[in-house]
């Protein structure tokens, strides 16, 4: 570049590299716009441009062990899955602990029925879910998203962005299909 400013593809790569959570396309556009304004630089990008650049970025990252993945309504850089064991050793992580079956069932019900009350979940599972629900909220996989108009105005629960991230889903459309 003649003015010494990086090309958009480089900026995009740097943003994705530094982000702590999945970046939405809107967020990327906003950051680019504001920074260009500050620097007096003439750079405007569209959503389409961002998406095309991400595809190109992934092409040039082939066999680099990392790539840009779409997760939880945004994009993030992550390692290739088959390289996981080496990364785990490096970070000295043991086996990650997993959610219990009852917790997974509760999550599944909330995910499909959201926003839903606790008693709706209990009706399906046939058992009280207070403790599990509290835990899921603590883990930020579920959040209180409002109150129902039903008598007593019970709390409504929904799944969170972290829920999508935890299971590597782009959006709720990625939920496993219900069968039977």
């Amino acid at each position: 570049m003649s003015d010494g400013r990086p090309p958009f593809s480089a900026i995009l790569g740097a943003l994705l590299f530094a982000a702590r959570q999945p970046l939405s396309v809107e967020h990327i556009i906003k950051v680019v716009q504001q920074t260009s304004d500050d620097l007096g630089m003439d750079l405007t990008v569209t959503a389409k441009r961002v998406l095309t650049e991400i595809v190109q970025l992934n092409e040039s990252l082939e066999n680099c062990g990392v790539f840009v993945a779409e997760v939880g309504g945004g994009y993030r850089m992550q390692n290739q899955r088959d390289c996981g064991p080496w990364v785990r050793r490096l970070l000295e992580k043991g086996k990650t602990s997993r959610l219990s079956r009852p917790a997974l069932e509760t999550l599944a019900i909330v995910a499909y029925r959201q926003p839903c009350t606790r008693s709706e979940v209990e009706q399906v599972r046939g058992v009280a879910v207070d403790a599990i629900m509290r835990r899921l909220i603590e883990l930020q996989l579920v959040c209180i998203s409002g109150r129902s108009a039903l008598p007593g105005r019970p709390q409504l629960f929904s799944t969170t962005r972290q829920f999508l991230e935890h299971f590597g889903m782009r959006s709720l459309n990625d939920l496993p299909a219900k069968r039977g």
Binding site: Q21, M77, G84, S97, R125, A128, G168, K178, R179
Partner: protein
């Protein structure tokens, strides 16, 4: 002796009454659309009784389901007078229950799928993240390979083998859960693997079996022991899981 409350186990962290029903249906390969209610109700009650013996904190929901089963059972025995008068269709009293079971089963299947995806995410790392959701230790389920009902069923079998106790004489029973934890740990140390049936086979008193079973649950909870089953409804083996980490 330690107070019993100390070892009270909340079923909430395990499964509910619908799980138990599905478990019984699967075990005996029953048709979910045509459940032999009297047989299932009897078996269901056996499990409830085993829970009572253990002084498990039985969720009220288990008892609600028990009464629902008994109600359906009795309605199946009685002739449906309204239907016989030619007034309307005969409604199968099992209908609601079947519907509930099927709906629940759908979500159970989804949960299984989610479990696989969670597993697949284990090998994915992101830069300087707080490692996604920190699950901590509480939610690990060392009982994974085996569900609570498998253990309860085996416990029930062990109880049945005990000869009727002579009620005229009273001996002070000296078994404690703490002591049994020690015994199990000792036996695992020498053998490595312990067969569930063998563990209980030499025991002659209910109290001893109950204490041993409680000790087992406690060790599983602490992650010191793993219960593994050879195939569905097969023999249960207990392994020392400390060396596996």
């Amino acid at each position: 002796m330690k107070s019993r409350d100390e070892y009270r186990i909340s079923l909430e962290v395990f499964e509910g009454p619908l799980d138990l029903l599905l478990y019984l249906i699967r075990r005996d390969e029953l048709d979910i659309y045509d459940i032999p209610v009297d047989r299932v109700a009897d078996q269901y009650m056996e499990y409830i009784n085993a829970m009572k013996v253990l002084d498990l904190d039985i969720a009220g929901d288990f008892l609600v389901m028990a009464s629902t089963l008994l109600m359906i059972k009795s309605r199946l025995l009685l002739p449906d007078i309204e239907a016989e008068e030619g007034d309307g269709e005969e409604l199968d009293p099992r209908l609601d229950l079947v519907r509930q079971l099927l709906e629940y089963k759908q979500f159970k299947d989804v949960a299984l799928e989610l479990e696989l995806r969670e597993l697949a995410q284990e090998d994915i790392y992101i830069r300087d993240s707080t490692d996604g959701v920190e699950l901590g230790e509480e939610t690990t389920s060392p009982i994974h390979e085996l569900n609570l009902f498998d253990l309860l069923g085996a416990f029930n079998d062990a109880l049945k083998k005990v000869p009727q106790e002579d009620l005229r004489e009273i001996f002070a029973e000296t078994y404690t859960v703490t002591e049994k934890i020690g015994v199990i740990q000792q036996r695992l140390k020498s053998g490595g693997v312990l067969n569930f049936k063998t563990l209980f086979s030499s025991m002659a008193s209910r109290m001893e079996i109950v204490c041993t079973f409680m000790a087992l649950l406690e060790l599983i909870r602490l992650g010191e022991l793993r219960a593994v089953q050879q195939g569905s409804f097969g023999d249960i083996e207990l392994q020392d899981s400390r060396g596996l980490q």
